[in-house]
Symmetry: C2
Subunit: 349 residues, 2 copies
């Protein structure tokens, strides 16, 4: 009988953050692709687009005029998924299949730059620092709203990720409940913390750094790695080396180092297929429910869909929806590929 | 303070099958869309395509020749995500972040029809009965393999769902472990069964039929409904009225009724945007681990991505990946829209 070879044989890996498994099929990356090709986003966008509702000074759908901003710019989402209204509601205590509860919240848009065509990897690190400070301010302000218990900072980049405007921007959805994925994660982080009195991330990071198989890049205060249990082909996570539970705890040097590593990671991403690399990213950190959360440890997820080229993505469909997530290359392979990418953006070579 | 109106106000709904929530934003369906448009699949395909690797008599990538089949045709996936080889493996009993176990399995492709251009809604119900009998046979044969504990039958339809060939076909991935989503569901079904001594589905179906707000179509033995906790815009579920735990328990009449309702549902789907409606579907039923599973109750999920038209889909991205699934129209609205669709396919009008 053949011995298990994690680089060759189909296997499952366990994700301790959400207590779920992923199916890994390392041998499958050679299968031919005759399916859908994604359209590549045009590389030549203007610095200012008079029809863009995110560019400075332009009018939005609801008639509001954007500030003539010079660094970042935050406004309430004109088509927010959440509303601030307080809603009267009496909980039905009976066991029923029809459990629904009103949800209050605030959705904001964060423009990263006044320039319509300037994505993270092409910004100077100082401009990224400014975005991080904006995230800090928003996390604080929104978190201070009495009924807001969770602040989700995220970015959808690229049309393939449902982003409807190439102007560099992210979003923040702040709400009264812990969203499903965050609640699952918190539960597992807490179990770990209660047992070991260290955060799961502290211990995991230490092991990863010892093994040095899945590290993409690091600096004094942050590490980028492909998690052992990654589901997306080039999924990564930025983890703070220090055990900080939220972005507002960063020191000045940490802000700088976070900006530098964000620039490095997104540059490597763009270089991989020489395209503006699509992804959804998001920060997981302490809820703002007023409790102490020693179990939380700052990290930022990157879920990029591209698999083989600028136009062929991984589809999480039938088996993945009914069964479990499945990937065709190992996390170790992906980390090696990303690590090998230059830190100089391909457009500047 | 305004009273909670489930048709108007943002709220969360609970999914008892997987113990997760979904964010519902009924007011948000009016937001304009400037993002990615999907390409519509060409309507005029030939009945036979000499370059298609699924058409009868054609040669596949690995050199094998397809049978000259007349109804359905099953073969092993040439680029299977799972392999049948037995792998020697010693479990690491220590607590570690790097939990991986080899996974054995069999992946098959099921061609639904020799005709390259004949999708389910356009087939005669008798031809669909034949597909159901094929599923029964495969469930039985694969389930009888000693190391196979779960048989996942599914279909990815349409290029937007990662399907690389329009020839009508589905897949079966059979494996030694219970996949993540199935395991979650089983856990919740079992808890319910142990407590009530009825299946969750029996009781849920009864409530849904009493309320009659989310039923799309029904016949003597099956119901199609939009689950209260649906995440995809036009997500549905076909549920057997009788408490059967697996497809091989169907009576002859049930096979007929299942075929009829499959045809009706997929016809309504095609009629909705007058396009070959993309979706991933999959059957959830009893595992094949040799245990009795009285908690399982046959159902088939349909997860279709289209939201507003044949070209605009719902993206489950940033917030949905980091936080939780989010939808813009209520389940009740979707059910009413689907119910109103004709049972006559738009091409035959
Ligand atoms: O097996 P296929 O049709 O080549 O591939 C399709 O279905 C599989 C199972 O859902 C997915 O893993 C693939 O990402 C998808 O493209
Ligand atoms: O808010 P946007 O950019 O209009 O919309 C995008 O991001 C949202 C949050 O992830 C998703 O719900 C939408 O499906 C997606 O198209």
């Amino acid at each position: 009988m053949k011995n298990f070879d994690i680089n060759e044989d189909p296997h499952r890996r366990y994700n301790p953050l959400i207590n779920e498994w992923v199916l890994v099929s390392p041998h499958r990356s050679k299968r031919p692709w005759q399916g859908q090709n994604e359209t590549i986003s045009p590389d030549a966008l203007p610095e200012y687009d008079p029809t863009c509702y995110l560019c400075p000074g332009n009018v939005r759908a609801n008639g509001m005029v954007n500030a003539d901003y010079e660094s970042s710019f935050v406004f309430e989402n004109d088509f927010a998924a959440l509303k601030q209204d307080e809603i009267a509601f009496e909980e039905n205590k009976k066991e029923t299949f029809f459990k629904a509860t009103p949800e209050r919240g605030i959705s904001r848009v964060v423009c990263f730059s006044p320039k319509h065509n300037l994505t993270l990897p092409e910004m100077p690190a100082e401009a990224i620092e400014n975005i991080i400070r904006t995230w800090q301010k928003e996390y604080m302000d929104l978190g201070n709203v009495a009924y807001i218990n969770h602040v989700q900072i995220f970015e959808n980049k690229g049309s393939v990720m449902g982003c409807s405007n190439p102007h560099p921007h992210g979003q923040i959805w702040a709400q009264s409940s812990l969203p499903t994925e965050v609640e699952k994660t918190q539960k597992n982080l807490k179990t770990y913390f209660d047992k070991h009195n260290t955060t799961l991330f502290q211990d995991y990071l230490q092991e990863e750094m010892k093994l040095d198989e899945r590290i993409v890049v690091e600096n004094d205060h942050f590490v980028v790695l492909v998690p052992f249990w990654a589901i997306w082909p080039y999924e990564t996570m930025i983890v703070s080396k220090r055990n900080v539970s939220k972005i507002t705890d960063f020191t000045e040097t940490e802000v700088t180092d976070f900006a530098v590593i964000l620039k490095q990671l997104t540059t490597k991403y763009d270089n991989l297929f020489e395209t503006s690399f699509p992804y959804s990213s998001g920060i997981h950190q302490s809820p703002t429910d007023g409790e102490l959360h020693p179990e939380w440890h700052f990290h930022m997820h990157f879920y990029p869909p591209l698999l083989r080229s600028a136009t062929v993505k991984k589809f999480m469909v039938g088996y993945e929806m009914m069964g479990e997530s499945q990937r065709d290359i190992t996390a170790e392979k992906s980390a090696a590929v990303l690590r090998a990418q230059s830190n100089v953006h391909y457009k500047n070579r």
